[in-house]
Amino acid sequence: MAQVLLKNVCKRYGEVTAVRDVSLAIEDRQFCVLVGPSGCGKTTTLRMIAGLEDITEGEIWVGERVVNYVHPKDRDIAMVFQNYALYPHMTVEENMGFGLRVRRFPKDEIKQRTDEAAGVLDIMQYLDRTPRELSGGQKQRVAVGRAIVRKPKVFLFDEPLSNLDAKLRVQMRAQLKKLHERLQTTIVYVTHDQVEAMTLGDIIVVMKDGVIQQVGEPLTVYDNPCNRFVAGFIGTPPMNFIEVTVRRSGGAVVLDEGGFSVTLPPVLAAKAAAYDGKPATLGIRPEHIHDKATYTGAANAGNTVEAGVDVVELLGNEKHLHLAAGSSMFVAVVDAHIAAHAGRKLPVVFDMDKVHLFDKETENAVF
């Protein structure tokens, strides 16, 4: 039983602030993913929880106590490193049992725990090998095994999948998810890969420049990003951003790009009222732009845009259309069978219930 609590945590290296005033509550048994571009402070935050970095300011709680000055080995945490960090001179079994040996566990218990973990991770047959005889995926599983034999309160993962090839990464991702369900422990997981964040996290924490941008369940963050950075970072292909001017015309609120315009539905119009006459950024996800010919909803002048097709990327299950209208470029994800050809015109429909609007100055979401 351990929740992890960060209270106004800061990390400074001389003049440089790596982590700025981070406060975060990770519930017991939660799978929390810290995600952000490189240099955003996510790994530093993780290393502070682990005790590998001093905390400049603030408090970190693991379970019922402040661990700021507790030695890493006494924090009841285990960590999996990006490059595995297995001891090259020990066998898989020795690697996994080393932490227990140092803690003077009885031999048969070490053996039992190692076997159990090896069974879970399907590495029984490699126990006698040294790390050099293992593939990347196997090494990664041993590294995870080394963490789980300790039965810690909290697992820390530092980009554990980033050294694996794409196929293996997907496989390991599913395994980690299953592992979490099985172990029922708190996990803090760092990644720069937003897909990993979306698929693994119970909650995800989006960071940038050492500051938490948004904390929430994956779908909440995806559907309601709090600012333009989060909106652009979560989701592939990323959200389209179109510079518009908000204009009230009659009873409706129109977003005018210059070359085309779209109309907000009444619910959203009310929220945009304050921006009347001002510039703003329209955000729309690629899957919310539809081919007009096959669109099943209502298409009208308020949501239809006459776009030119720039590039068509066929992925097999879907097509990515790079479109241009007015002076804006945007991407639409459509069914693979929709007829679209580069250089031709294609009328598309913006699903206006799903659009976002961002303040041009602060980049915060209006909705």
Binding site: L52, Q82, Y84, A85, Y87, P88, G99, R103, T130, R132
Partner: protein, 288 residues
Amino acid sequence: MADTNMMRRLKRRKMLRQAANLVLLYGGMTALAVILIIPFLWTLSTSLKHPAEVFAFPPRFIPQQIHWRNYADAWMRVPFGRYFINSIIVSCSVTLGQVFTSALAAFAFARLDFPGRNKLFLGYLGTMMIPGQVTMIPVFIVCKQLNLIDTYAALILPGLFSAYGTFMLRQFFLTIPKDLEEAAIIDGLNYWQIFTHVIVPLSKPALFTLGTFVFLGAWNDFMWPLIVTNADSMKTLPVGLAAFQGQYSTDWTLLMAGSVIVLTPVLLLYIVNQRFITKGFVMSGLKG
């Protein structure tokens, strides 16, 4: 058809050229090896000759009569056994001690964060610039004041510390990934355990290499043992060997026999350790 003929000819010419290169290469290396080994073989040859045959002209490489007695004589003439034991004690102590202290210092310089670390390291390195001859007399005086003359302590203590060994091991330790150490910290190891359980096992090649060099240096050292020993019972082999070289005459056959005896352990050591010395080490618990 003509094309394939041409190709075949070109191919053969290429093979010939490669063969010629190999012959040149091996020929050159063999010649070098012979040049290097001749003095040793000559030593061996002289050690088996009758004293009268040493300066025979024309020189004979293979003695007329193999004179094994030289070895027994050399061993008996001076207390060779005693010298041998002294040399073993001194060389082994210096080797173990110096590798140990160098490794500890290197670990501190490579991995521990303490104020002034880099300046201290530079100062330490700076001592390598001072030739041994400069410090020889002061160290001798210190030993004398401490009443250490004619003791093992005098022979061993000054050899226990070395800036070179520290430098060499530090450079090696720096190549050991920091992640391993952090994994060890989380596994619950303290600094001493990290040193003994992670750093040392991973540095075996470097430690053996340094150990071999130190042993060779200590085994062959002549000057320092000569200075701090007076009693015959404290002399080491190189000093003892000098006994065969008199002011007016030299017992060449005995000197050479003695030299071969002195050389043998060193040769054995090299043969045993050469796989460590020549082998690179792969850090394979990590990516790559």
